[in-house]
Structures are given as C-alpha cells and as structure tokens.
C-alpha cells in the first residue's frame, strides 16, 4: 500500500475545530458536516480543509485559513506516552490509529494555530522511532523463530505499512524455500533469481538498526 493511501484514510479522521466563519450544515454522502458557527467547536473530518487549490475554488482555502485548530493531544500527555512506550516491551495504545499522519497533516497545514507545535512534532517522532524499532526487532524474532502467527495489537496502519512488503515477501519466499526442501512438494516453483534476491534482502539491515534499545516481542 502506498503511504499516500494511508494518509488518504487518515484524512477521514474527525478533528475538532473552532471555525471563525459560519456555514450551514452540509449534507455529504458519507454523513452530515457542520453546521459551523464562529467560536463554537465542531467535529469535522480532517480532509475538508486539507486541499487548498486555487483562488476560485474557495472552499478548501477558505476553510483552511478560517479554522483555528484545537489540538486534542497535549504536550505533557504525549511525554507520558513516550516514556511509557520506551518502558514497555509491547506496543502501547496510541492517541489515534492515524497519529503519525494526523500530526503531519495538522502541523504542516496549521502549525500557527497549534500551541507548542515543535514540541509535539519532536515527541511524536520520538514515539514513532521507538515503535518502529520495536517493530523491526519483533519482525526479526518472528522470522528467526519461524512463527506462524503473531498478535499485533495497537499497531497502526502506517507502522504496518513500513514493513509490509519487505516482511511479507520474505516470509513467502522462506515458505517456498522450506516447502521445496520437503520431498514430493509441488509448491516451490520459482526461479533462482528470486531466491538470490530474497537472501540478499533478508540479511539487510533488519535487526541491528540504530534505534534498537531494548528487547521486545510482538504483542504479548
């Protein structure tokens, strides 16, 4: 899956805004939006303000600049989360299933309206780094122990996406290699080129990245 498609899904997430304009309720196919009144907080999917295009296409631009965003996560809360994430072996719950994408979208478009934007950016990046390091380590132990099932609670789509193609392709190739070893198996039909490519990839940069600080296992 392309990262932009994950972002596409994240754009549906509802964020709270305080509009400084007024607009009647909008009846969308996917549900109603608004009504917007100046000064009254209202929930709204992130997408509606994300794409300012031209001057004539008012809505995006208008909404984007008209919005004062209220960040629902506060810096001290994020700090707690970061510490917990570092302490725990398993993945801890995150504020939103799309926390990374939302942070990026919100901070890029509206950093002026979010207090402590830089601090939030750093904290979220810290949390992300810790989690991805855990994920790599888990993927490594998953492969080396030849497991057939893993529980991945609290893992977000974007995180899964960072290792998806690499992990799944490797697992599939290893499966084919193994089933080739068993006599009478007809499953292994692939070329030497593929084997070669995969072995090269398996040894590449998995376990000993610079972020790895602690030993963890997938899920529990």
């Amino acid at each position: 899956m392309d990262p932009s498609e994950v972002e596409f899904l994240a754009e549906k997430e509802v964020v709270k805004i305080i509009p400084n304009f007024s607009l009647d309720k909008v009846y969308l196919i996917g549900g109603d939006l608004g009504p917007f009144n100046p000064g009254l907080p209202v929930g709204c999917p992130r997408v509606a303000g994300s794409e300012p295009k031209t001057e004539t296409e008012v809505s995006g631009l208008f909404l984007l600049h008209g919005w004062m965003l209220v960040s629902t996560v506060h810096a001290d809360k994020l700090e707690e989360m970061r510490d917990l994430e570092r302490k725990e072996d398993a993945f801890t719950p995150v504020p939103s299933p799309y926390y990374m994408e939302l942070t990026k979208l919100l901070l890029n478009y509206a950093s002026d309206n979010i207090p402590k934007a830089d601090e939030i950016r750093t904290l979220v990046k810290d949390i992300w780094d810790t989690r991805v390091a855990k994920l790599r380590l888990s993927a490594d132990s998953f492969i080396s122990q030849m497991e057939a099932h893993a529980k991945l609670d609290n893992l977000t789509l974007m995180e899964i996406n960072t290792i998806r193609s690499f992990l799944l392709d490797s697992l599939n190739c290893m499966y084919k290699l193994r089933s080739n070893l068993q006599p009478g198996s007809s499953k292994g039909q692939f070329t030497g080129l593929l084997i070669h490519k995969n072995l090269g990839r398996l040894g590449f940069g998995l376990p000993h990245g610079p972020f790895v600080t602690q030993k963890t296992f997938l899920g529990d």
Binding site: I29, G31, A48, L167, L168
Partner: protein
C-alpha cells in the same frame, strides 16, 4: 443552492427507506472502503460486490447531477466535489485492483467461475467475466501468433492453467478482527513445531496465513489491513 443540496440529503433518506436492504449512504461508503482494503491485501480474488459498486455509482451520479445546477464558487459545492473525488478514487482503486488480479490469475479465475455451483454467488461481475474471457482469448491468440505456430506440431498446445501461477494462498496477511472468533487453527511453520489454536478477540490485530482466515474475510468477520 443550499436548497438543492439539502433536498438531496432528504431524498437520499427516502430512497433508502424504500429499499429492502436498508443501508444509509454512510454505511454504504464504509462497505466500499472495507471491500477496497480487503481486495487490496488479499492474495486471491474475492467475491465481487457489484451491489455496493452500483449503489455508490448511483449516489455519485445523483450528487453530480445536483452539483451541475449549483453556481460556481460556492463553498459547499467545493466540499461536495471533494467528497465525490475521494469516493471515486476508492471506487476506481477497488475495481482496478480486481482487474489486476484477473489479469494475473485469469485461467484460475475462469476455472473457478466454471466449477461454481448453480446457487453460489458469482466471483466476477458480468463485465469482469467478459474481460477475463477476452483477456484469455487474446493471450492465447498472441502466444500462438508469436511463438507456438513456429514450434514442432507436438508442442503447439499450451495449458494456461499450468502456465500461469496460482494465487498464493499461503502468504501472510495483516488483519483486524471485527467479530470474535474461537479456535482458529494455526499450522506450524516447520515439522518440529506443533499446530495450535488461537482465539481472535474482537478489535485485536494479527499476522497470519491467508489460507487460515480466508472464509472469515468473505464472511466479513475480519478485515485485512
């Protein structure tokens, strides 16, 4: 202008009430997104959701007709247009990934369609079926014209079913559980490991082989992610 769009909201509700299968437009979009993600991540072609596709198309044309009547530069129209674009993207991405799979596995897809029983739901929509058949015929003609007719007579036939690789049902997938499932059998990776069962709790996420949970994907009990 606001009347046009508000009217539209009202008429949608009425339309839905009269249908046998009551579903709000919002649920319909959610269904489409579900089908899109499942299709994207499953190694095999899934059952077609032509009902959902048709309903979404209907909604889109309806909304576009309404937008035709709206004067340019209206803030609301922009929001509506953006939503239409997003839904259209999901819809075409869904159909595209199905076509890609059909192109990849066409002999097996046609074979499954042939061997399916009378009452079973069809794997392909009529359009997809026509596409698969045409694709099959064209590939065959091409192979013949380019290579086969220059071969010795005893080598001039090719079995498409053997020539094209089957979908690999043993690949791993990521999934989220929507309805609790008990006693899912996990097959061992190696001979010295024993098989064991797991319970899939609602809302939990897992990484396992597609073959084990394929029926749960089609029943909608799990969502691939």
């Amino acid at each position: 202008m606001s009347d046009v769009l508000s009217d539209d909201g009202g008429s949608e509700v009425n339309q839905d009430d009269s249908r046998e299968d009551v579903m709000t437009p919002a649920e319909l979009i959610a269904k489409l997104e579900e089908a899109w993600l499942n299709e994207k991540f499953s190694p095999d072609l899934l059952e077609n959701k032509s009902e959902v596709v048709e309903c979404v198309m209907e909604q889109l044309t309806h909304m576009e007709d309404n937008l035709q009547r709206v004067k340019k530069g209206d803030a609301k129209a922009g929001i509506h247009r953006m939503e239409i674009d997003r839904i259209r993207f999901v819809l075409s991405s869904y159909l595209r990934s199905r076509l890609q799979k059909i192109e990849k596995f066409f002999p097996h897809v046609l074979e499954r369609e042939k061997s399916r029983g009378e009452g079973d739901p069809s794997l392909l929509s009529p359009e997809e079926f026509a596409f698969a058949r045409e694709y099959y015929a064209m590939t065959e003609t091409y192979l013949k014209a380019v290579a086969l007719k220059r071969m010795p007579p005893n080598l001039q036939t090719v079995d498409m079913l053997k020539a094209v690789p089957e979908p690999c049902l043993d690949s791993f997938v990521f999934l989220r559980v929507k309805e609790r499932q008990e006693n899912i059998l996990v097959e061992p990776e190696t001979d010295d490991q024993r098989e064991y069962v797991v319970d899939l709790e609602e809302g939990s996420q897992h990484l396992m082989r597609y073959r084990t949970i394929a029926p749960l994907v089609s029943s909608g009990a799990v969502q691939l992610i």
